[in-house]
């Protein structure tokens, strides 16, 4: 599509073209109109220049104007496209869809139905001009792309500053770059990758680039307080506020706190709460010490992991897991291989059941065979048996008949017997006698019949007995009977085997499965049991192998478990530089501690990895690269300021300038240094918002107040003056020493060491540090380490009881240079747990050329006079002398 800025116009009808009447002097004659029309695309870009309408083909610009009757366009000129035409098209053009074109020899030949639609086109052009579409809304503004370029340049400049600080660029020549494994190289690459992520919209927080470039924060939802958990440790008002806001903030929260305001405690609570609701949290900072001070406040388990410790955590996990899985491994061991007990029992059971089935079949067959054999034998005796049976039947029948005859005879006799005894007995006696004789006869016949019957029965019994004997002795029958017995034994044996196998299997299963079914004793339930067992078997085998493999792998100490644990941990802690080694890690929340000390490019690396961030730090802390270092580097050939005021600064610093109140919390209660000191810092650096909550009192060494000023103005100018030490600072700048101050300072430190007070000496110049160390007269490296420049002081070192700060500068011209960085003084003052001793030529300092410094010294002096102790330097010696005497006594 031509141009980004276009407006579509669809014409309802075709357009007519005719040669123009005004002969405009052009480079060439008008080409053939038909050829021209073929060059028009389906969509024609069109612009207006005054009242002239310009139509464009791929190669030509056609200037047309409507004819008088508004029916056709007259072609005034056809020019080749020029760069200026392209330029104009790129800024905006109408995209005109023309249904068709028609050429006519002149305007008069154009039929009446043609129209030019000139008014519509002109109106559309007006709309376009009035409201140009501009850059597509989906594309980010150019200034964001520019910011990415600036950030890339800051990464490079930062790398140079870092090399200089490391001592490789002292002479100002181009520092040699280390190899690919050099930590500085890796860090720079990681930082460039972070900028690339911003550039290509791959940052976890899509609004991060806008936040850095424009200071645009996402709107914070109305905090209802609902769902915010209770902190595990008690927090004061401001800390609770920070805790609550960190819970809700959608993008970035700044927790700004001077020293001693409980930043670490608040941070730990924020981290704990976030992890508690399932967020993955990264805790990072300039040093591992800073990170550790937060991590050690969290419960110690593998869910809180410091990178570097993951090997240990993995070892702990391995041991624990092996212990915990030992018993299940034992219980599953019977399924481990194909020759293990459980498969064996299962196979056995299957086999026994199969055998049992076969035995049952054989028994049935044997039974059948036996019956057949018996039948065969019996058949031989069929006739005899039948005859005997028939005889029995006959005799039985005879017997029955005989009995019946006897009964009948008796009945007849009985029928006549009473009559034979009575009146007419004589008539019946012969009948009775005949009947009695009949009865005798049939009774005798009955006895015979009975005998016959008995004999027949006995004969039958004998036949049966014979048959039985024949069967018993018949070899075939005996053979079959044996077979049946064998089959019986087999059935019983397989039944027992099956039951035993099932019982054994069930015992093993009971260890690994919740409620295995009872196998029972009969075949049907045994078979059901077998089916069930066969079904779970492969799963159990699989589990057994799986568990065995798992345990074997755990016994190997090799990777990748440590890396994996880092990916699963709830809280991961690592110094910023260490994150370069782990590009795969992403998080839900990143918490950056000591954020004021991390250069902006280094902070980008963790920031692009998480959706939300909390930056904790002191806005009045020393910047990552103090101004002198930055200026020194910019003076070298080839060095250029990337712009936007980002060089040498921290991300905290940049965001603190633009963050709305909803995205920042100031922790305002300090509990670390004496109130006298904190009050001064509060007024000077923290808009008076810092309050103190410390127990005052307690014995102070030598002086009566926590704030002590030892003024060398009472010495002669020569005595108190500074001495230049050329080339002792970075960029071969001059350093300074001050012998008078050094002597006083050493006197103090000697005394402090004697009475066991923890002291630190801070001075602005390396040369003065060297001088003091040289004169310390002690080989004790601990003592030497306590003398240092403010810049070299690490925020995570424990606070000393006493800080001695030597201003060192004392000259007529009011030069204070390094001291102009007022935050150095802030850093020094806020490190004294009980007492701060300031040593300097206050007359000269008060007359400093730099107005800000003058003001600060003035206020410091007033504060010291009102709340502290101000002593001329000469008063120190007698004071010390008394103290030593008292000590010796």
């Amino acid at each position: 599509m031509v141009a980004t800025a276009g407006a579509r116009v669809r014409l309802p009808g075709p357009l007519a073209l005719a040669p123009g009447t005004r002969r405009v002097a052009t480079q060439s004659e008008l080409p053939d109109l038909s050829a021209l029309m073929r060059d028009f695309g389906a969509v024609v870009p069109a612009t207006f220049d005054g009242s002239e309408l310009h139509l464009h083909t791929r190669r030509h610009r056609v200037v047309v104007r409507p004819d008088r009757d508004r029916r056709a366009y007259l072609v005034e000129s056809v020019e080749p496209l020029r760069l200026r035409d392209h330029g104009r098209l790129s800024r905006g053009a109408l995209m005109v869809s023309v249904p068709g074109w028609k050429a006519f020899p002149d305007a008069a030949a154009v039929p009446a139905e043609y129209r030019t639609y000139h008014d519509e086109l002109a109106a559309a052009w007006q709309r376009l001009v009035a409201d140009p579409p501009g850059v597509e809304a989906t594309r980010r503004p150019q200034r964001h792309d520019d910011m990415c370029d600036v950030l890339d340049a800051v990464v490079e400049a930062d790398r140079q500053l870092h090399l200089v600080r490391r001592g490789q660029g002292r002479t100002g020549s181009v520092p040699r770059l280390g190899g690919a494994d050099d930590p500085a190289e890796k860090a720079a690459r990681a930082q460039h990758d972070a900028v690339e992520a911003l550039r290509t919209d791959r940052s976890a927080n899509p609004g991060l680039l806008a936040l850095i470039a424009d200071g645009t924060f996402a709107p914070v939802p109305e905090s209802t307080g609902a769902g915010v958990p209770r902190p595990a440790e008690p927090l004061d008002r401001a800390q609770t506020e920070a805790f609550g806001r960190a819970w809700d903030v959608p993008d970035v929260l700044l927790v700004l706190g001077p020293p001693g305001t409980g930043k670490t405690r608040t941070t730990a609570e924020i981290v704990r709460a976030a992890a508690g609701r399932g967020e993955r949290v990264l805790v990072t900072g300039p040093t591992t010490g800073a990170v550790d001070s937060v991590l050690e406040r969290l419960p110690a388990d593998h869910r809180v992991l410091r990178i570097g410790d993951e090997g240990k955590a993995a070892a702990v996990l391995r041991r624990g897991t092996l212990e915990r899985t030992e018993s299940s491994a034992l219980r599953l061991a019977p399924w481990l291989t194909d020759t293990s007990p459980a498969p064996s029992w299962l196979t056995e059971l299957g086999r026994a059941l199969a055998d049992g089935d076969r035995a049952a079949v054989e028994r049935a067959t044997a039974d059948q065979n036996h019956r057949n054999a018996v039948a065969l034998v019996e058949r031989r005796y069929t006739h005899v048996l039948t005859a005997a049976r028939t005889a029995v039947e006959r005799t039985e029948a005879d017997l029955a008949a005989a009995r019946a005859a006897v009964d009948a005879a008796r009945q007849r006799l009985d029928g006549v017997a009473p009559s034979a005894e009575g009146w007419l007995g004589f008539a019946y006696r012969p009948m009775a006698t005949r009947r009695a004789a009949e009865l005798d006869r049939v009774t005798a016949a009955l006895a015979e019949a009975e005998q016959e019957a008995t004999r027949a029965t006995a004969a039958l019994t004998e036949v049966a007995e014979e048959i039985r004997r024949a069967c018993a002795t018949d070899p075939a029958v005996r053979d079959c009977a044996e077979r049946v017995a064998t089959a019986d034994v087999a059935v019983s044996r397989t039944g027992t085997a099956a039951a035993r196998a099932a019982a054994a299997l069930r015992r093993l299963l009971a260890d690994v499965v919740a409620e295995p079914p009872e196998p029972g004793k009969d075949t049907a339930t045994l078979k059901r049991f077998h089916q069930w067992a066969a079904q779970v078997h492969p799963i159990l085998q699989e589990r057994a192998r799986l568990l065995a493999d798992w345990r074997d792998r755990l016994k190997e100490p090799a990777a990748p478990l440590p890396d994996e644990l880092v990916r699963y941990a709830d809280v991961v802690g690592v110094a910023c530089a260490g994150l370069a080694d782990r590009p795969d890690l992403t998080f839900d929340l990143v918490v950056i501690v000591d954020a004021g000390r991390i250069p902006l490019p280094a902070a980008l690396v963790p920031m692009v990895r998480a959706r939300r961030a909390v930056l904790v730090g002191d806005p009045q802390d020393l910047p990552p690269y103090p101004d002198e270092e930055v200026r020194g580097w910019l003076a070298t050939p080839g060095a250029a300021d990337p712009g936007q005021g980002l060089l040498g600064r921290s991300l905290l610093d940049r965001l603190a300038r633009t963050a709305p109140p909803a995205n920042r919390v100031f922790l305002d209660r300090q509990r670390l240094i004496p109130a006298v000191l904190a009050d001064f810092l509060s007024a000077q650096f923290y808009d008076g918002l810092l309050t103190s909550d410390v127990k005052e009192g307690g014995e102070l060494p030598l002086f009566t107040s926590p704030l002590v000023v030892l003024d060398t103005a009472d010495l002669s100018e020569g005595e108190r003056a500074e001495r230049e030490a050329p080339g002792t600072e970075l960029w071969s700048a001059a350093g300074y020493t001050n012998t008078a101050e050094a002597n006083m300072i050493l006197g103090l430190t000697q005394w402090y060491s004697r009475i066991g007070v923890a002291w630190t000496v801070l001075v602005p110049y390396r040369a003065q540090v060297d001088l003091l160390r040289a004169r310390l007269g002690s080989d004790d490296p601990m003592s030497r380490a306590r003398i240092t420049t403010v810049d070299a002081l690490s925020p995570s070192w424990a606070l000393p009881d006493v800080v001695v700060f030597g201003f060192t500068r004392s000259n007529r011209a009011g030069q204070v240079d390094r001291l102009r960085e007022l935050r150095r003084l802030n850093a020094a003052i806020s490190r004294a747990r009980r007492q701060l001793v300031l040593v300097g030529d206050f007359a000269a300092l008060r007359a400093a050329a730099d107005p800000e410094f003058r003001k600060l010294i003035g206020r410091l002096g007033e504060h010291a006079i009102r709340h502290g102790a101000v002593l001329p330097s000469k008063a120190l010696r007698p004071l010390l002398a008394d103290a030593w005497k008292g000590f010796a006594a």
Partner: protein, 311 residues
């Protein structure tokens, strides 16, 4: 966004046989297309995730508590690992029940962790022919959202527009099957085109010298070449006369060298003071044409060479 024009001119002048005559600072149109696709990747398994896949797929343990007990690992860790496997597409959750997906099964069979992730990326095609930008150009080039760019040295880039429509079908990514065009827009690439003896030399942020890909692209665009060729030649006499007069060199007259380059001979004392040493033998560019600064004094020239070598 791009280095000053004189650097491109110096490089062109150093090309053997190039004989550069004039240059154009143009903004070439590209389609910037956001595409979505599914990327298939495969990596080594870690320890826990491999065994979780196995335990769910082969061991048929379908719930987190069961997995934790079986593997002897505590529950929050298993939760996290399972979440990750779900995100990777190896496991699905149905309430509390976990199942192994086809992707998970594939991974187990191959014993490597297969991933399918929905990815988005931005692809650039030239707006004339739809030619894809080569991979190695992506990290080096910077595109503009609006067709306008002016550099600190006064160079103004002129946009060129394409008459072609964007065709989603023209977008391809090697090895990707389910490419979807999500959105597209026009972006502009600043390029120096130096007219030389046999065509135009192209200079972009790519590499340290010529950009061969851009040169081939432009050589195939008759509409672009026609537009450039149609530009009237600059009035070099006037331009350089004005420049020299303005710099106080009224007596200096530029001369055309045998290799076609216009050269102005300046007095030795201006080098190392008003002009840097690097500028002796270097060029000044104005309105599409250029002139070389020279000095007749050999020692000055030698000094300039030494200084150039040191930086």
């Amino acid at each position: 966004m791009l280095y000053p024009a004189v650097r491109a001119i110096e490089a062109a002048a150093a090309e053997p046989g190039a004989r550069p005559t004039r240059f154009f600072a143009v903004l070439l149109p590209f389609w910037s297309v956001e595409v979505g696709f599914t990327r298939a990747q495969t990596e080594e398994y870690d320890l826990i995730d491999r065994f979780l896949d196995r335990a769910v797929g082969d061991g048929r343990i379908a719930d987190v508590a069961g997995l934790a007990t079986f593997l002897g690992v505590d529950r929050p860790l298993v939760e996290r690992a399972v979440d990750r496997l779900c995100t990777l597409g190896h496991l699905t959750r149905d309430g509390d029940a976990l199942t192994l997906t086809a992707l998970g099964r594939e991974s187990l069979n191959a014993d490597r962790r297969h991933l399918r992730s929905a990815e988005r990326t931005r692809v650039f095609l030239d707006a004339f022919r739809g030619t894809p930008l080569p991979r190695d150009h992506y990290s080096a080039l910077r595109f503009l959202g609006t067709p306008g760019l002016s550099l600190a040295d006064g160079t103004r880039f002129r946009p060129v527009v394409s008459f072609e429509e964007f065709r989603p079908g023209a977008v391809h990514l090697p090895g990707v099957a389910d490419l979807r065009v999500l959105s597209w827009r026009t972006e502009w690439l600043p390029v120096y085109l130096v007219r030389a003896a046999n065509g135009y030399l192209a200079y972009s942020r790519y590499g340290t010298g010529r950009d061969p890909w851009l040169e081939r692209l432009c050589a195939d665009l008759p509409e672009l070449l026609a537009v450039l060729d149609a530009e009237p030649p600059p009035d070099e006499e006037r331009i350089w006369r004005d420049w020299l007069d303005g710099a106080g060199f009224r007596a200096v007259h530029p001369e055309r060298q045998p290799n076609g380059v216009l050269r102005a001979v300046l007095p030795p004392e201006v080098f190392g003071t008003r002009f840097g040493w690097a500028q002796l033998g270097g060029y000044v560019a104005r309105e599409g044409c250029f002139m070389q600064l020279w000095c007749d004094d050999e020692s000055t020239r030698k000094r300039a060479e030494r200084e150039r070598a040191l930086t």
